[in-house]
Subunit: 269 residues, 2 copies
């Protein structure tokens, strides 16, 4: 099996996203090794040794995805027995030419707390936690978005992802069984109606998910799931609440679709 290294003087998150996007295109297995915070020549030399050892053991040159800005560190890694892919270095020059300005020399830190938007994200995470599952409805006035839907339709992980990734304050509110008889929007939801976004899901998938949580309960039965989904979807239509079906979507996809369709302002790029 070929080894893929992701190496950086920072978190190596960018190197991972970059390498992963490329390697998933190939029908092959890789052993993945991430080495973050390689911040000195000594450390870079150790990493180089590790790469060379891997080459000796496997007989195949490792693939190295790296995102150093420091030239000296990059060159040490480049001198190892590996194939090195360096997208920052490849693209910086064309962008420099286009913009007509030089890049800053300082070490690259995309994922550090020196980003202006860092505090927004922590605030948003705290907000999402404090306003999960319909808690503190009076806080809904401060939400950027309020996700609504039946229990286990994906509201909570989506709220957290919107907060962590984009600094968006997402509250969420579950429509529970007791609401179903005469489903309507509570006053706190009504006065924030423009912020509501509905999630739905197929009854089959919902039943599967609930089954894991409370096996053989009425809550998990296909009949109950279908009933709740019917009620909630007709509420969405009646009240003209935008909604999407989360069944075949990842949290990342749900979040990206919500942002694209609502025009929600992100606090992080």
């Amino acid at each position: 099996m070929r080894t893929a290294f992701y190496i950086s003087d920072g978190t190596a998150i960018t190197a991972e996203v970059f390498g992963h996007a490329l390697l998933t295109m190939f029908p092959a297995q890789f052993e993945h090794i991430t080495i973050p915070f390689v911040e000195s020549c000594d450390m870079a030399e150790q990493v180089k040794q590790r790469i060379n050892d891997r080459y000796k053991t496997t007989g195949q040159r490792p693939l190295v995805f790296q995102t150093f800005v420091d030239d000296q560190l990059r060159q040490i890694i480049n001198s190892s027995n590996a194939v090195c892919y360096d997208f920052l270095n490849s693209f910086v020059e064309p962008i420099q030419r286009e913009l007509g300005i030089a890049p800053m020399a300082k070490t690259h830190r995309t994922h550090s707390m020196h980003e202006k938007t860092y505090d927004f994200r922590i605030d948003a995470v705290n907000y999402a936690l404090a306003n999960d599952d319909g808690a503190n409805m009076k806080n809904f006035d401060h939400a950027d978005i309020i996700l609504v839907g039946v229990s286990r339709s994906g509201k909570t992980p989506t709220s957290l992802y919107l907060a962590l990734q984009y600094g968006i304050k997402a509250a969420n509110y579950p429509f529970v069984e007791e609401d179903m008889e005469a489903l309507k929007l509570a006053p706190e939801l009504l006065r924030n109606k423009s912020k509501l976004f509905g999630l739905t899901i197929t009854a089959q998938r919902l039943s599967q998910i609930r089954q894991q949580r409370r096996p053989d309960s009425r809550y998990a039965s296909l009949r109950q799931c279908q009933l709740e989904l019917n009620e909630v979807e007709s509420l969405y239509r009646r009240e003209q609440i935008p909604f999407l079906n989360s069944t075949a979507l990842s949290i990342e996809e749900i979040s990206a679709k919500i942002i694209a369709s609502t025009g929600l302002k992100r606090h992080k790029y």
Copy 2:
């Protein structure tokens, strides 16, 4: 101000990471526009029009970061009045040559739920939520890692990030004021000692953070913060619990450092 577009037939998350890593190297402001889920030629033509309009209004060619795999869609975007940067396309060929295998033709979907590891991540998020702030200590036996530290030292956002990003089951446990008199590890922590990881922070920063939460309280006082941190750090040393100081680190950096120093197994790459 120059406009940067991030465009993809998927979430465009990879395009954003890619473009953002590059643009943050330049001392300039950009207007950022993300357009995800461009899945048909019609949609690609509309996006092209939007790019060209932007060129007309601003007089400057927008920068376009794109991650299409579909050749036809890519070419439509490439024919706009923009400078297009396409790292997938630039690197696929060299990797193909090195591996000696062809990439798959299907659309690229790094952030979809078809990743094998998707369910791990949702389980891990649910685990982190259910085991936040010392809840359900009997579940600690199922944790991959247990973050410990004083209140507001960064445990909760880090647990959530480890779960969402890496599928790691992270519980967390706060040492509260009442524990300080004779600080020791509870039985549930003792029997999972190899999973413990401590967070600490400077008293100044902790006091600032607590001040926002409960202004002018004893809880937020510098004196109380210092006292708790002294106790907790000496516990870490006495019990040989690895720990790090989160003061100047982002959640991403804390998480990457924890994984690198513990060798924690990730469920997502």
